[in-house]
Amino acid sequence: MVPLSWYLGLSALLFTIGAVGVFIKRNAITIFLCIELMLNAANLALVALSGFFGDVGGQLFVFIVMTVAAAEAAVGLAIVISVFRNRESLNVDDVDTLKL
């Protein structure tokens, strides 16, 4: 039997990797991938707790997170496409006009 803390530890590790990725990467698509990684890290924690508690709620939450991830990917990639069309670049540091 694998203890719960192992799963949670793995989840924490993956999350941190994702966060670091968002920090250091400048390619918009790679940043998206890192966000997906973070979402999956959270999913792992949810599924693990769901299994250990014998409660279906956590898995349902994962289900919903997946739909949200799908929606986010669709919209996010559409934004990336339209930004690319305007800027000819995927560098997020290029897209900083939101700054005052």
Partner: protein, 170 residues
């Protein structure tokens, strides 16, 4: 046995996750992420979450990641763009932040010893929660409203994606 499986897939997941960061080409990063997702799917099986494991492969690795790969292929970033990097110092914040995050989380992990889990008999563990039956029943009874709201969210995402990605004048 389970521990062995866990360690194998955990190592694969972490390694491929790190590979996402290491690769410069986003296409390789995406493929690397698919490996991570697949190994996570295997871990879900060890947690008796069969349904989630299946859609992890089908929806996540299959559909969403295909979308990513598709977009990466489509955009094909030119190689000669000037190398812009603003506020480079922020990059180095990643190290202390990541360290603190790991430290905090691993500090919290031993707290699971204090939790009293319900004991599920080994023979029922397979069918206790993670089957399609269980998930479906819960989804269409207690969680019907969130489910329906999710469908609205997806509809909005579809419309939003079309509006955003459309060319001007189409």
């Amino acid at each position: 046995m389970e521990q062995t499986l866990f360690i194998i897939f955990a190592v694969i997941a972490v390694a491929s996750a790190l590979n996402i960061l290491i690769q410069r080409n986003p296409l390789y990063s995406a493929l690397s992420l698919i490996v991570t997702l697949a190994s996570l799917s295997a871990l879900y099986l060890t947690l008796h979450a069969q349904f989630i494991a299946a859609i992890q492969v089908v929806v996540y690795a299959g559909a969403i990641m295909v979308l990513f790969v598709f977009v990466i292929m489509l955009l094909n970033e030119p190689k000669d763009v000037p190398h812009i990097e603003k506020h480079k110092w922020l990059r180095y914040l990643a190290i202390p932040f990541a360290g603190l995050l790991i430290a905090e989380m691993f500090y919290a992990l031993p707290l699971d010893k204090q939790i009293a889990f319900p004991s599920i008999p080994a023979e029922q563990a397979d069918t206790a929660v993670g089957t399609t039956w269980n998930i479906g029943t819960a989804l269409f009874t207690d969680y019907l409203l969130p489910f329906e709201v999710t469908s609205v969210l997806i509809l909005m995402a579809v419309v939003g994606a079309m509006v955003l990605a459309r060319r001007e004048g189409d």
